[in-house]
Amino acid sequence: MGTQVLSVSDITMQFGGVVAVNNLSLHVDEGEIVALIGPNGAGKTTAFNVITGVYAPTNGQVLFQEHLISANYPRGKMKKKYLGEADTADKYHVAKSITPDKITKLGVARTFQNIRLFKNLTVFDNVLIAKHMRSRANFLSATFRLNHKEEKQNREETMKLLEILDLADVKDEIASSLPYGKQRHLEIARALATQPELLLLDEPAAGMNPQETDELTAFIRKIKDDFRLTVFMIEHHMDLVMEISDRIYVLDFGKLIAEGTPGEIQNDQRVIDAYLGVQKDA
């Protein structure tokens, strides 16, 4: 196995009294496709949101490659409740969390469970916007078109990306007018335009029929190879998950209950119970 691209340790995320994610630790290695599954409300999307910096965790830390994305280790009275130790012991309270845009800049891109496109913009602009982050022009030079070379290059790259992803023919359409499946594609295209190394997909197959799901499977494989990506995804379609994943994590009520290859997970009693809703040691 390659080096760890993503490493999550002891993440707890609390909203008031609700513990959405409870002491979650996991890792994703370079070149892998890893799936995070679990029943509805298990805390999967919350985990994604912590990884991409939308939420600062109540406890724990997230590392992307060697970059610290977020870390929070409450001390004092609160300490007992949570696991893990901060690296820097000299501080009373370590809390660090960088904003989602910086995380994206480091090379983590994501899609959303309920598609979040720039609805009233064209397909082309949706993708082109993702290039803005890597632009070196400041607003003055951009306004007065001193960056036209870079702009031209961005436009060409965007076009190329749209062609690869089979979106070139709809490039001038308004994003919200696309059919659902295409919107999913577009969201992935937009994520790819940020030139990520790690791609987080939040239920990419949601609302797709079996045939579309098959196409998606091939599509994810293809982009993984073409763009040399590591993929971490949340998914409900078991066909897709079992076929595509190298490893699977299973989350239930915020807790990690199983981890392993598709074969292992399929036969894990705890996972079956969780999905069937059996109450153990209640």
Partner: protein, 297 residues
Amino acid sequence: MSMDIFLQHLLNGISVGSLYALIAIGYTMVYGILLLINFAHGDIFMMASYFMIFAVVDFGLPVWISLPMIIVLTVILGMLLERSAYKPLRNAPRMSIMISAIGASYLLENLAVYLFSGVPKGYPDIPWLTKVINVGTISFQTVTVIAPVLVIVILGALMALVNHTRTGMAMRAVSKDFETARLMGVRIDRVIAVTFAIGSGLAAVGSVLWGAKYSSVYPLMGVMPGLKCFVAAVFGGIGNIPGAVLGGIVLGLGETLLVAFFPGLTGYRDAFAFVVLIVMLLVRPNGLLGEKEADKV
């Protein structure tokens, strides 16, 4: 500063704060449910004052009939406003609703200028509110004492309503999650109408106390109290009824004591509320009693 003067200031502050609180409740309830700054709330308060003048001065009705009547009229006005200016925009972008609110506020103001002219009118005298009481060198009107007491009573009643009735439960549900509440069969439109009714009713009550205390009624009288009370609502934690009361009283006291202790700064009094707002947003954006909420992603 001598003790009696300080007490006088304190009394002024609490009474003006209580009036702020009454208006702020209307803001906070509407915001809690619709996530809308009802810019026209201050103008509803203004209209309530004019209703009173018409009832008592022009129609010669006794105060005890006029009082419930203007409250009913104001409630109708508030619900009418909601029907015509906000309900059609239920699914429109937030900015449209806010612009509609501004438009409604501007319309009421301009309408008042057109109908009643810009010349201030005197509020009808209500003796049991305006009677001056002297305690030592401290003088105050009965309304100064009645206002805070009334606010506490109303707060208690509202809390009971919100926490222990079906309507209150529906209100809480709508404010937590609009869509889910709708799916669960809560009659959203009814809840919103009730909210506007309560808010407008309290604005009417506030206008009576205000009129008794300050006696001058003019078309733009609702603008500043309106803005300040919104600030008070944010200060206390928007959507939170005790927060609005607390915010109103703190703001009223703050303004008064600013003038009391720093007479040189009286010119900045109106700026005080907004400075408080900005500092509050910087330090504790959810207000004194507000809960932190996470955005859904």
